[in-house]
């Protein structure tokens, strides 16, 4: 490969734009950020690997979107306002059309959230995308996993289970009508980080997490960190996958049991699960309206440890949960 397609040129061509909010962006040893007075810095890193987090044939534009989206989702879960991100990228070689599409997807989402690319690294190696995102949140106001209280309501944003549905279809385990497949695949490949909702929930939610490994597993992290338990309503949970626009009329394809499984342990949803006191129901509704994000109340925090399921008749539903584990 010639020098003309070398590392520095790649950075300049695809990953450099003038800093607008950062004090100093791409092009020095470090980027410099100036947090506003009274703010804490929220930071999170996620690494995406081919064959584990995405298929080799995924659209590069969707991959650019998703690589940033999963990181923004962590900021959302803390109620932080995105500031900046770094991108470290290992590429098997220089494929300019791939880089153009990847950076298009990345920039589009970054600009939506005013989140600047301020630095990073490119190298040759098996495809690997590592993004670190930085946000700011007023001191002491970050949403944590540890704040859930007995009696709190449990909510989730948006819909759950569609990404897993798409994954099973892509793996040939089931067949979906085209419109449903397209809708489910869009949810898998182009997740929407709930950044505005997370910010609107500051001072309202008692605890929050983003759902990357399935509702049961991730809610489990809240329960463990808060030293509480919970009961979820399975009818409402099942309805969350049915909420997909194109699902209507297709419910016979997947059994209710499997729908519940996709919702509870599907993974890759990037919705927020959060808790809030009963007294905050109006405030939660207001946060949902302000952020134009649907939220659904589907359970209650209880003193007894563990996660329990209950049907509409109030009967206990037996279930074995497992959260998605990249070494599982």
């Amino acid at each position: 490969m010639t020098k003309a397609t070398g590392e520095f040129d790649l950075i300049a061509r695809y990953f450099t734009r003038p800093a607008r909010r950062a004090v100093l962006g791409v092009g020095d040893d470090c980027a410099l950020l100036q947090p506003a007075p009274g703010m804490q810095i929220a930071v999170s890193s996620d690494m995406l690997v081919e064959g584990r987090h995405f298929f080799a044939d995924v659209s590069a534009q969707a991959l650019g979107h998703k690589a940033l989206a999963v990181n923004l989702s962590d900021l959302a879960a803390c109620g932080a306002t995105p500031m900046a991100f770094t991108l470290a990228l290992a590429l098997p070689g220089v494929d300019e059309s791939w880089l153009q599409a990847f950076s298009d997807g990345l920039w589009a989402l970054a600009e939506t959230h005013g989140c600047e690319l301020v630095g990073g690294d490119t190298t040759q190696g098996p495809l690997n995308i590592c993004i670190t995102v930085l946000g700011q949140v007023p001191r002491g106001q970050a949403l944590l996993r540890s704040g859930a209280q007995v009696g709190d309501d449990i909510y989730v944003s948006g819909t759950l289970g569609d990404p897993r549905l798409a994954l099973e279809a892509l793996q040939g385990k089931l067949s979906l009508p085209p419109a449903l497949m397209a809708a489910a695949r869009a949810r898998l490949e182009l997740p929407t980080p709930r950044v505005a909702l997370g910010q609107a929930l500051r001072g309202v939610a008692s605890a929050a997490i983003d759902i990357s490994d399935g509702l049961a597993g991730d809610l489990g992290h809240i329960l463990k960190a808060s030293r509480v338990g919970a009961t979820l309503d399975t009818e409402i949970a099942i309805s969350l996958i049915a909420a997909s626009t194109h699902w209507a009329g297709n419910t016979a394809i997947i059994s209710a049991e499997n729908r519940l499984k996709y919702v509870l342990s599907g993974g890759d949803d990037y919705e927020l699960a959060f808790t809030a006191p009963v007294s905050a129901r109006q405030a939660v509704d207001a946060a949902a309206k302000l952020s134009q994000t649907a939220v659904t109340r589907l359970g209650r925090i209880e003193k007894e440890p563990g996660l329990r399921l209950m049907d509409a008749q109030g009967h206990s539903v037996p279930q074995t949960f497992s959260s998605f584990d990249h070494f599982g």
Copy 2:
């Protein structure tokens, strides 16, 4: 693989220690950091890939050290004080003795610099180590590449070229006496980030960069960003590789021309190259003493663009430079 060696357990076992300086460390969606009043945040990411940045048989402990060292070196070049880092790690599988040694090397260097591991990600995939480091620096005092002025002196810290010497020996291109090989290999595998020197140079140096791709290439970034040129003294440059403790008596192994090449374009040195006004010579000496880091003055910033070499007799030395490029 069983759940007992799953992602969450790995994080808990090898990469979690209680947060001491961070507001919130490993274990929530984001870590939270509280910069001191008046401070800017410096951030940098580096990705290390097997076969490109290290050999498959490198000691895991050395690799843990180096992965953090190359990032701390970027903070050093900005004069920033390390605060925290995130670690994203792709591993082919779970090898506990490797993880123990890797984390030992990582923690030892992290503790030396009071730099806390606050978050990250582990996943299965071809070995890849991505670290993002965060530091703080008083507003407006970061050392940048763009501040060099005509007439400034040019300095480098420590010694240069030994890592490249070790690399050539490891690749079988030359043979070194055992003591020299051990010293050179230690410089390749266990670089010392010049963090204390970088901080001591705030308000003293006019520009700085860390030398990861060779002195000529990295000084070239200062020249380009500052829109100036420079002349270096080749005799002093050659002496920098001879400065290695174990080099004495072995100068016949490598020609002076090759020694100059290793110094100017060897790569992997992680020393600082910096500029300072002639009036700051005493202040530079004081910064070197304070940080217990040797510095050598070896050139001058000039108005004419480009990098020139001059021998002890004042004659121009022709040289083709190339900086190390991961796609070159």
